[in-house]
């Protein structure tokens, strides 16, 4: 359901202005979601993209479809960052550090807020992308742990949740420039992740499964 508009587009060559507008809308949507949350008015997204609202509705059947596309885009880009960090950084902890900061720039925090009510988490694309991301980040952490630089009592969930939270837009209205603080705080968090551990943590390492209580 709802995937029609996309399918139709791919069937025909499509006009250049149409595809350009589509990209613009996606970019605008990403920004708008980051700034105002997942229920930002679609008209606002259209306005930000510099197109009429009818154009948005022409490209995306409903909010759901738009959200899915944006989420897939972002997931893919973050996974790329994880992969390239794995491939290019010789030092294990440095690779992890690089990934964290790059992921922050992609605004994972905002992405996570897209997992709203009507979101189909079992969409093939999304599931695939998430699995790939999980695999890459797990390797980043395993490497760092094995090299003795990452404290052993933290899980992938600890890292992902912290990134998510620290990269979200600040609550207060005006100060939307989290960027100023984001990287500082991520860096402090990363310093806390280093081995040897400077304190004992409550509870147990957070895993990916912890986020899906309703798993088969």
């Amino acid at each position: 359901m709802g995937g029609m508009a996309t399918a139709e587009r791919k069937a025909q060559p499509a006009r250049v202005d149409a595809t350009r507008n589509r990209e613009r809308i996606i970019a605008a949507a990403r920004e708008a979601f980051v700034e105002h949350g997942p229920s930002v008015p679609l008209d606002a997204i259209a306005h930000r993209a510099g197109v009429g609202n009818a154009t948005l509705y022409r490209h995306f059947a409903d909010r759901n479809e738009l959200v899915h596309v944006v989420a897939s885009y972002s997931l893919a880009r973050i996974t790329e960052q994880a992969d390239s960090a794995l491939a290019e950084e010789p030092d294990a902890f440095e690779a992890l550090r690089r990934f964290v900061h790059r992921a922050a720039d992609e605004r994972v925090g905002a992405l996570c807020s897209l997992l709203y009510d009507g979101f189909d988490k079992n969409d093939a694309n999304v599931v695939d992308a998430r699995v790939r991301l999980e695999a890459a980040v797990t390797r980043l952490m395993d490497n760092a742990r094995e090299s003795g630089q990452l404290r052993p009592d933290v899980g992938i969930g600890d890292l992902m949740v912290a990134i998510t939270q620290l990269t979200r837009p600040l609550a207060g209205t005006a100060c939307a420039h989290v960027e100023r603080y984001m990287h500082r705080h991520l860096q402090l968090f990363l310093d806390g992740l280093r081995a040897p551990a400077r304190s004992e943590l409550s509870g147990t390492a957070v895993t990916f499964e912890d986020f899906e209580p309703d798993r088969i």
Copy 2:
């Protein structure tokens, strides 16, 4: 403006059920703000408090008044935590640590999100409470810094923003139980705050003033 409902109440003895409902509403509002943000429907707050919506409107002239009361309450309680940590903990870093975790339990994160558009930041009560909080936390940090346990390149703003962000409800719908992770992540962050610093931070220490660009 808007303080009438409260004033009137205090003038007369007031009925016990009325004051009880008032407390219930404030508590419900705090929870609702924490969970759904500052623009949660007032009817939803009334429902959560187990009272009719009319009762809410009878006690609070408008959303603004309710927000102010909730904010003042929370600020006061957090300040208490800072003061008691200062008074009771002999070790400077331990005092800081204790304050951070207690503040988290009070959900500072949610409180911060109350600083929405219509909020009067210059309200005497609020300003006073904020100044007192700032003073207390500054002392906590100064003590820890002077004892050589806190890295010198972090400011009060760094700490407050991080607490705020890490204690906010998770973006996704279901997983509203941040509590499970919150304290772990705060602890990791605190470990990153310890001296000696394990890395260099970008930018400069964040102060309180950084949040008010429109200061006289």
